[in-house]
Amino acid sequence: MKKILSGKLPIGLTTFLILILTASPPARSEETQQKTVLVRAEMCEAIENYKPVNPAVVFSIALGEVYCFTSFDPVVEKTVIFHKWYKRDRLIFTMRLTLSPPKWSSFSRIQIRDADKGPWRVEIWDENGSLFETLRFSMTD
């Protein structure tokens, strides 16, 4: 079973949430002990077939947009995560994404312009304020 959720942000960001169910739900006793785990996080040029295309750490502004792809397995319960996009140490925007059990992949996207050149990072946070991972990359000519 497969679900796709999408939304549009004022700054032109489109978010797709991809739910991929590949396994049956775990037993109740295991569920309470497990944590939601980030298994894959990558910056990429595009998302195709719910997978990141050309993951990299340097992106040309000629691409027009950059994606942050994250995949969680397992997702213990329905929760939210945040993709926080920083240019240098200045927070540019925060994307709130919903995760649902048993596992879930989601991404956020930013449209890039000439003024966006420079070092960037995306921080991936859970709803409790814990940092999963920081992805660092550069936007260049």
């Binding site: 990299a56 750490v57 050149k117 550069s138 260049t140 000519d141």
Partner: protein
């Protein structure tokens, strides 16, 4: 009332000295001129001055103006009219008695000799005119006398008034126990209400007593009556004891006075009144001359935590409006004012510190009116060490068909020392720009770290390695 007490607490030692010095000057003037008509004239001037002050407080402009005019004219009149009294006080006193002593104008006059002589002459109808000067100098009032400068004795005094003596018609001046002069001619009284029995000798005695504080004894040649003149008053003396009593009173040897009439009590009271008057005058002047001044004073921060340092303040100077007596304000310089803000309770970050009167040290007698700004924002910070990740800063473009799949700094973290507030805002240390254009294969390069804030420092060297992985784009 509150202002009065504030004035008391704000008194400087110079103000106390000012009050005491002028009180003493006033007291000395009283001591030197007491008993003379100058004092009475000065009393009138003081009354006019008080009336002028009352007129000012009531807003009576013309009255105040008139009082000031009267006082100005009166001051000139006093100097002109009483020049003799003033000069006698200024010239006849030695420096010690002028500045310090309480002069006793009374001399130890052998009053019994005078009384005995007078009542020896009276029955024999030998006319006599005897002057006993008091505090005022009579030199300018009498003339034509012959200096005697002899010790007083009944025989000598009798012989002077003896009918065959050339000096017998004039007056004898007795000071202390000496006959100073004889044959003195006195100014005559112009009073019209004198008894017909009074002759020229009486008119002369009265004339001098009208102009001075001297006592004059007249023995009538026709009736043998003893008459005593003092301060326009005429007393007929019928006995030797009565004359002695009058003479002793004049000489200051009368029965000891008690209470307020006692000389020492009177002097003490006069001193207290002088002090009171000058104190009142001082406060009147200092209040009346109150002025305002504005000073811009640098703020001094005290007692900061030794581990902290001041990063910024909303202002380094404060503008103070102060008030006080104008002469005092003219002497106040900015260096005499301190504005000290206590930072002992300040914490890291931005602190709002209120500037109150307790923070401002003013010279005595100066009052604080306003402070601008009333509070300051002071930012404090401490030096901390923070471990920060390193991120390569790529520029340019990779050759076509290539992508940089991974890049990592070696070491991935560095320690940075700096102010906590600054480091709180910094989460990454970046390398200098790394051009991509000539990179075709994976590899490693050396570069330097860039700290954008000059107050930060790296605990290790700036040089680091960057390892990167370049791959060809699929398809």
């Amino acid at each position: 009332m509150e202002q009065f007490f504030y004035s008391l607490t704000g008194l400087r030692w110079q103000d106390v000295l000012d009050i005491l010095l002028n009180s003493y000057i006033l007291f000395r003037l009283y001591v030197l001129f007491r008993g003379t008509r100058v004092i009475r004239a000065l009393q009138a001037v003081i009354i006019f001055w008080a009336a002028g002050q009352a007129a000012v407080s009531l807003g009576l402009i013309i009255t105040n103006w008139a009082m000031q005019g009267v006082i100005t004219v009166a001051a000139i009149i006093i100097i002109v009219v009483f020049r003799n009294e003033i000069s006698s006080v200024l010239l006849t006193k030695d420096l010690k008695s002028f500045l310090w002593g309480i002069p006793k104008y009374q001399f130890k006059t052998p009053v019994h000799i005078i009384a005995e002589t007078v009542f020896d002459l009276a029955p024999r109808k030998i006319g006599a005119l005897i002057i006993l000067p008091s505090k005022q100098d009579i030199a300018s009032m009498v003339q034509g006398g012959i200096s005697i400068e002899a010790k007083l004795s009944q025989e000598l005094l009798t012989s002077i008034f003896w009918g065959e003596n050339p000096l017998h018609d004039g007056a004898v001046v007795i000071q202390g126990d000496r006959i100073k002069s004889a044959g003195e001619i006195l100014p005559l009284s112009k009073r019209q209400d004198l008894p017909s029995s009074f002759g020229t000798r009486h008119r002369a005695g009265l004339g001098l007593s009208e102009l001075t504080d001297a006592m004059v004894i007249v023995v009538s040649e026709e009736r043998g009556v003893v008459t005593l003149f003092k301060k326009d008053q005429i007393h007929t003396i019928r006995s030797r004891s009565a004359l002695e009593k009058k003479l002793r009173e004049h000489a200051g040897d009368g029965p000891s006075k008690k209470g307020f009439q006692h000389p020492s009590v009177k002097i003490t009271a006069a001193a207290a009144i002088c002090l009171f008057c000058i104190t009142g005058l001082w406060f009147s002047f200092s209040k009346g001359m109150e002025a305002f001044a504005t000073h811009e004073i640098p703020v001094e921060f005290i007692n900061p935590n030794q581990r902290m340092e001041i990063v910024s303040t909303s202002a380094s100077n404060v503008k103070l409006v102060i008030s006080g007596a104008k002469p005092l304000l003219n002497t106040v310089r900015p260096e005499m004012i301190d504005v000290k803000l206590n930072l002992s309770k300040a914490v890291v970050g931005t602190n709002t510190v209120l500037i109150s009167k307790e923070n401002i040290m003013l010279p005595p007698g100066v009052r604080l009116r306003t402070v601008t700004p009333p509070e300051l924002e002071v930012s404090l910070d401490t030096l901390v060490v923070k471990e920060l990740p390193v991120q390569p800063h790529w520029t340019g473009n990779l050759p076509d068909g290539l992508i940089m799949k991974q890049a990592r700094a070696i070491p991935p973290m560095v320690r940075v020392t700096g102010r906590g507030l600054i480091l709180n805002e910094i989460h990454t240390v970046y390398t200098e720009s790394l051009p991509l254009d000539k990179l075709t294969d994976s590899g490693q390069l050396e570069t330097s770290l860039v700290l954008e804030n000059p107050s930060l420092s790296l605990n290790t060297g700036r040089k680091i390695q960057v390892e990167y992985q370049i791959v060809r784009k699929p398809g």
